[in-house]
Symmetry: C2
Subunit: 199 residues, 2 copies
Amino acid sequence: VETAEISSNHIRPLGQLHESFIIAADDEGLLLIDQHVAHERILFDKFRRSEGERQIESQNLLLPETLDLTPAQLAAFALVEDELAAIGFGVMRLSGRTIAVKSIPTDLPAAETRNVLAEILDSIDAEKRGGAKTTIRDDIAASLACRAAVKINMKLTPEKMQWLIDRLLLTSSPTTCPHGRPVILRLTMRDIERGFHRS
Amino acid sequence: VETAEISSNHIRPLGQLHESFIIAADDEGLLLIDQHVAHERILFDKFRRSEGERQIESQNLLLPETLDLTPAQLAAFALVEDELAAIGFGVMRLSGRTIAVKSIPTDLPAAETRNVLAEILDSIDAEKRGGAKTTIRDDIAASLACRAAVKINMKLTPEKMQWLIDRLLLTSSPTTCPHGRPVILRLTMRDIERGFHRS
């Protein structure tokens, strides 16, 4: 099993393995796609692009979510407030260390709001504060993509599998996720025929 | 990709790769099944068993097929006439070196009649005539199984894929075909998770 190079876009899902991996076929053989990291890659690219293009897709929460931040989180928040707004978070400061989240990026499940914000604010440590803005933006987009992506052990419809494959192929790097893990493994017809002693 | 050990019979076909290999899933991971050799194994076991049990399944041809044999083929025919009858061939000797085939094993497509008989008779060479009857019977059953089995590059319905898998698991040796080639290759969840850096 090798990390895949994508050279064909006629990829057709056959089904899902253990509700975690999409099994697909193209002209060159069999593909295994990690559904979580595939979706992560799609969302990461979308969040980075929408920031650049200032096309914010945001959904209002039915009730604003209030979070009591630690002093470190509050300091981090002051630093990334603009980046959070650019990616689709509508956040208001209340008194003390409390913030109210009124809207979130459309792709993020509402239930993930607290977790992803805590994760983002905790990841802005002293070292990164001195770093480049793009690194911080990448980190925020990666955290958000990870929380918003479909999980493993989740059943997908054939339509959703095809959607994930089609969108994945449009991304900047379909074969690796934002954290560098492989998204697609490939078994070529040559590998398979050799395995069956047909070559 | 490794030759598979079968330890679970909850094998579910996901689809067909290049109309030649069945892609299936079970509790332990992904299976690739060579549709031709899988069917060969099923038919080989059936032919060997039906001989033993004298349960001949034969179909009448609409028109008897006449074959003009070479002297060598005629000599071979005299030697394996009983074995051919036991496996489902209804053959009558006509004058000279001509034979008429009136019925054939049910699993054999009628169009394969001439080819498979020529193949069987040509394979009974001087060396084998001195050999054991069981070797000759195995050779006949293997030739017949090969000709009667679904080919590669042939589209299968999901029902036919499930039928092949279910029958294959009932055979004496589901993982290798009568000629010793692998029938099933397996990718375990461990292999797959390792490939995706998930373990």
